[in-house]
Amino acid sequence: MTPARPRKGTSWAVVFGQELRDLWMGGRGLVLSFAFSCLLSVIAFLVATNKALNFLEQREAVNLTLQVAIAVGTLLALLAAADAVSGERERGTLESLLLTPVSRFEITVGKLLATLSLWFAAFIITVPYAWFLGRGISIVGETILIGLVVGTVLAIFVASLGILISVFAASNRVSLSLGLFALLALYTPTQLPSSAQKGWAGELLLRVNPLTAGEHYVGKVIASSHSWSEDLAWLISPFVAAVVFAAAASILGARFIRLRGGVAG
């Protein structure tokens, strides 16, 4: 008896379900989530107990924790995405995947959505920490909502970037290295001295870079008590990057996923 052929248009859901099983039942997702929770525990413990940090306003403590959660949560999504195609290729399972009656576009979409599950797991792990650090000053709801919105947008951007790299990378090692390098490069502007960040060129760099713009917006709403609409312009680049890179990953993935990595061939 042959397995039922998935209905046209729902094949991505089959790929998504299979990828979720591989990621979570295979244990990789749980190990990464465990490491993430250890990191967040250390950060939350230091914020709450270290005397040097304890003078921080409560909002700043919540903001610091949320920003770390978004940065590391998107990193987890990137790690899974960078392995999505090049990993299958190296493990020798890409051929059988390409032989299934599922279009390459749907394969890419299913894989992209599955990698985002790591971000959502990281976000769920963050909620109790945000609740503990933010209780008593009525920012827990706001923190959770803004973390979900901005973090998801950034995770879509980063995961799409990871998929793109994975499609074209010649090996899984190259894919993971390039993905990590790209993410570190995107976070570099946060290390600029504050005087450089305040000039027009520095601010432009922060605004154009989706990661720094998103983190800046979160900081303004959580730490500086700005309203959601006050700095909305900072969210333009994260949203544009998420849409453009998700579209690019889906379209280019459909066109260029093949058994051998690289652009040619």
Partner: protein, 189 residues
């Protein structure tokens, strides 16, 4: 004759410059600028943000330009270290010229960084004018613990422990540990 003309021009120019400066300083040599603040006392808690406004008034007969307003913070007690940069990220303001009889108001956004009693004041100066300080705003900041650190430990240990147990359980299940246990139990039965 030319020397006399040149000397006259120099004297005239000097008189004009001194006159303008004197007009800004006032007839008795004091500055025609004054600085006032909208409050003299502020009471707040550690970590809170607060705002006050200072108004710089030019009571002279000519406009004054090139003014710089500077915000200063100091502790009334000697044992408290104060870094004014932590208190306000924008402590220097370059002002537009203030016309004769006019004034300008500056809003200062600050954050209470240390607990204790502090003096905050604004100074106005320019290349030509000596600094003019405004009245002191006394800021009383009460200590507070921003977080109850005691409760974090169960959370910080509990969540990784829970995830670690789930991961371990899944690994054991995949390794067939539970299945072997069941089959042994069936054999014994």
């Amino acid at each position: 004759m030319t020397r006399i003309r040149l000397a006259s021009v120099v004297v005239l120019a000097t008189v004009l410059v001194l006159g303008a400066t004197a007009a800004a300083r006032g007839a008795d040599g004091s500055s025609s600028l004054s600085v006032t603040v909208d409050r003299s006392q502020i009471a707040t808690k550690l970590g809170q943000k607060f705002v006050f406004r200072s108004t710089i008034t030019n009571s002279g007969s000519t406009a004054v330009g090139g003014l710089i307003a500077h915000l200063n913070v100091l502790s009334f007690r000697g044992n408290v270290y104060v870094d004014p940069e932590d208190w306000s990220s924008n402590r220097v303001r370059y002002l537009a010229p203030i016309p004769a009889g006019g004034s300008t108001t500056i809003t200062w956004h600050m954050e209470a960084v240390n607990a204790g009693s502090f003096a905050v004041y604004v100074t106005v100066l320019s290349h030509e004018l000596a600094p003019t300080a405004g009245p002191t705003v006394t800021v009383a900041i009460t200590q507070r613990r921003t977080l109850n650190s005691g409760g974090i430990l169960p959370l910080a240990l509990g969540i990784p422990a829970l995830l670690g147990l789930i991961t371990l359980g899944l690994r054991l299940r995949r390794a067939g540990y539970f299945a072997r246990g069941r089959s042994r139990a069936a054999d014994v039965g």
